[in-house]
């Protein structure tokens, strides 16, 4: 039952052959594949980390840019508002000045016209006085007639509206 013979040597050789064959057909390809997988996984993890870092950096950059843009926009709005206010004020000033000037000019004109009218009136009053006096003188000096004459004169004065004076 436990006789030892040349089978022992044959089994050693058989085993050696199996080792060589398994090494070629199974061990090497599997180990190679394991290495590849390991590298790939490591690569994937590294890439994922890198991507995450890059994304974070980009996000930070965007946020900074956004903050900068917001500040700038506010600045622009402030500036525009300020300018508008200044413009408005300036135009108000100009308009006020213009109005003042116009008022002033108008007043001057009014005074001038008035003076002119008074001058004219004075002249006409004198002429009328002379005309009235002439009429009185040419007629008989009668108290009643005089009074009627003056009344008529004044009525005529009202009716005819001698001159176009505004006052």
């Amino acid at each position: 039952m436990i006789d030892i013979n040349a089978t022992l040597i044959a089994q050693m050789l058989n085993f050696l052959v199996l080792v060589v064959l398994l090494r070629i057909f199974a061990y090497k390809p599997i180990v190679k594949m394991l290495k590849e997988r390991e590298e790939r996984i490591a690569g994937s993890i590294k890439k994922a980390d890198d991507d995450a870092a890059a994304a974070e950096a980009t996000l930070k950059q965007y946020q900074e840019q956004l903050a900068g843009a917001r500040v700038k926009a506010q600045e622009i709005i402030d500036k525009a508002e300020k300018r508008t206010r200044e413009d408005h004020e300036a135009s108000m000033q100009t308009t006020k000045a213009e109005i003042d000037q116009m008022k002033h000019a108008a007043q001057l004109e009014i005074q001038r016209e008035r003076a002119l009218a008074v001058e004219k009136l004075k002249g006409q009053v004198a002429a009328l006085s002379i005309a009235a006096a002439e009429k009185i003188v040419s007629k008989n000096i009668d108290a009643a007639e005089n009074e009627a004459l003056i009344k008529e004169f004044i009525d005529q004065l009202d009716k005819d509206k001698i001159g176009d004076l505004p006052c």
């Binding site: 013979n5 089978t7 040597i9 050693m12 061990y27 390809p29």
Partner: protein, 222 residues
């Protein structure tokens, strides 16, 4: 009827061979190779099906080897992987009716054990030189006797443990069937136990081989 212990022999070139053992060994080798080739024929990055099993086995044995032997033991991984796969298939082959385990022959187990032990000493001398030889004479030169006995005992225990377990299992399968035709339950239970024994013995043989190899290959802390 199967005659226990009687082996059919053939003569070749003046040498005697146990024909059944050789045939069963070749069948085991063929099964191992077939499984390995089928499982690794189309290796994928994302493993599926049979690739998972064979890949898992190889990764597990590779890790065992690297843990025991250190990085220098990388080149012995195929040996350990082959040893385990061959032994487990060989042990289980005997459970198939009309088949026999190649490991029920002492020639197989002693052949493997001697193969491992020769390798251990060759590698020991090759990798550590005089230091390896010197460690047999420590702490005192007289210890060489104990050490030599130990070294001789290693392959013998390795061989007989496996041989005894597998042969006993097969004998009991036959005896249980001879005892009574109705004794199906004990037969089935024993078959299941033999399945377990086959796996355990394959693992023990591989682990002990690794331990012996570690003696020769692994860097000592000194």
């Amino acid at each position: 009827m199967h005659e226990i212990g009687v082996r059919e022999t053939v003569q070749f070139a003046g040498l005697t061979f146990n024909w059944e053992t050789l045939v069963m060994t070749w069948i085991s080798m063929a099964i191992v190779l077939l499984i390995a080739i089928l499982a690794t024929r189309n290796l994928k990055m994302v493993p599926t099906g049979a690739q998972n099993i064979v890949e898992g086995l190889i990764v597990w044995l590779r890790e065992q080897t690297l843990t025991s032997l250190g990085p220098k033991g990388e080149f012995l991984c195929p040996l350990i992987v082959t040893l385990f796969l061959f032994l487990i298939v060989a042990n289980w082959l005997g459970l198939v009716p009309t088949m026999a385990s190649p490991t029920n022959d002492l020639n197989t187990t002693l052949g493997l054990a001697l193969f491992i032990i020769v390798m251990v000493h060759t590698l020991g001398v090759y990798m550590k030189g005089m230091h390896y030889i010197k460690h047999f004479f420590q702490p005192f030169p007289i210890f060489v006797i104990i050490n030599v006995i130990e070294e001789i005992a290693k392959p013998i225990t390795l061989a007989f443990r496996l041989f005894g377990n597998i042969l006993a299992g097969e004998i009991l399968i036959i005896i249980l069937l001879m005892l009574a035709k109705w004794a199906i339950l004990p037969s089935v239970a024993w078959l299941a136990f033999s399945l377990f024994i086959g796996g355990v013995q394959a693992f023990i043989f591989t682990s002990l081989s690794l331990a012996y190899l570690a003696n020769a290959v692994k860097d000592s802390e000194e």
